[in-house]
Symmetry: C2
């Protein structure tokens, strides 16, 4: 159920940075509700910056990666979507809708553990309609070998073949890959360790990615397995990241003159 977001942070809808300020507010509120870690605010800022230099829109290479990601999730045996605090704070409704549409569980997996955080995130997801939430009972969890952080504690992820990791840290992505899992990452930094290690890297803002994945999933559900596998096989992640860097270079090159127009 969407909130009256226009009122929630006192910024008028006409403000040129309305959307950015709205999600910034959600992250800050998330911190106050224990959902978001303090370092999650800093991570959100890093994302904002990278979003600027792709022009704050879903660029073509991101759409290619989204197509491959949805095709993989539709053909996987035991896929799972990992959820952290920032994702839960930013797009809980959309995430639950995607999870239900693809019939894939959500697993809470946090870098920063803190008393009450898992419970707070579980509440957010339940309020958004989630019924299949993993990673909520630490006693039932196993540990990924080769990973020191709190992220090592996993539930369904331990036996998953495909793990979608929106807003992830590099160490875990590397570990998941080394354990033979296929990793789908959403990361605005195209050359973060996560972006480089993942099999499919979606360089785009999570607030645009999940709705786009939902639309894509609705279409791709009509395709057969062979067609889906072809989409995956035609996708080259390294090349796609390099093309993303080209688009960023194009954007910055254009800004060498464009940016100064505000002074005219």
């Amino acid at each position: 159920m969407p909130l009256n977001e226009n009122k929630s942070h006192g910024v008028p809808k006409s403000h040129p940075r309305f959307s950015s300020l709205k999600y910034r507010h959600k992250i800050i509120e998330g911190m106050k509700n224990l959902v978001v870690a303090e370092a999650g605010l800093i991570a959100h800022g890093r994302g904002e910056c990278f979003d600027y230099i792709i022009g704050e829109k879903t660029i073509k290479t991101a759409k290619n990666a989204i197509n491959a990601a949805v095709a993989v999730l539709l053909t996987a045996k035991r896929p799972v979507i990992s959820v952290n605090g920032n994702v839960a704070a930013l797009v809980p409704n959309e995430l639950v809708a995607l999870s239900k549409l693809l019939n894939i569980p959500l697993e809470i997996n946090l870098f920063y553990s803190k008393e009450g955080r898992i419970k707070a995130i579980t509440e957010v997801l339940k309020n958004a309609g989630a019924t299949d939430i993993k990673g909520t009972n630490e006693d039932m969890m196993t540990e990924l070998t080769g990973l020191e952080s709190n992220r090592r504690k996993v539930d369904f992820i331990a036996k998953a073949d495909v793990v979608m990791v929106p807003l992830e840290d590099g160490d875990r992505t590397e570990t998941l890959k080394k354990l033979g899992k296929m990793v789908i990452a959403v990361d605005l930094n195209p050359i973060s360790r996560t972006a480089l290690w993942a099999d499919i890297t979606i360089v785009d803002n999570i607030i645009r990615v999940i709705p786009e994945m939902i639309e894509t999933a609705k279409q791709f559900k009509k395709l057969n397995k062979k067609e889906l596998i072809e989409i995956v096989n035609n996708f080259n992640n390294k090349l796609n990241i390099q093309k993303t860097l080209d688009l960023i270079i194009d954007y910055i090159t254009k800004q060498k003159e464009e940016a100064f127009k505000i002074l005219e």
Copy 2:
């Protein structure tokens, strides 16, 4: 007095991201002490990202801007350095050292006002040895016309000819310019409104800028007025920003191959 920073956030000095994590910790601590606004964490994250794409070092164009900035501050009639929460949290000792070396007051000026914030920042600056702090008594302040945010409330800034604004918002920079003041900005985003509006834009991390300015000021104090004015006259801010964008493009171009080497 430097803290034992190695212990303060539990990250070993050998960690490849030690410096970044140390300052991230200072910002989070700053928030807990009221010095930093919540949105200041997000702003810090944006800075981190832009710092990546200049290679986390003081690039040549930043050094050019630092030279021009120091020369201007040494020849100005009534210069002032504006201080916000993030700057106070990150480099209080360095800031006070620069202020004393140049004999320039510090003025606390905040976008996010909150009960106790000015007092908290004053404490931080006093602990760092500051004796000349402006902007601490709201009753004594005037308001800049044309500015809606809390930043409109100013003290010494009202009559200053040169204002150095480290980590600034675009609205105030524009207002200061329109009031005929010369603005020196420190901003990691080379095409933010602040960066574009300022007379001298230092695109570099504040943690490197202030120490570099201190070293430069020690040298430039030996120059005469004519020599200092020549340094200022030879500086072209638009061209310098465009060259900064070129350096960023070079960096990203190099990353198209370099970045993937971590997978080898």
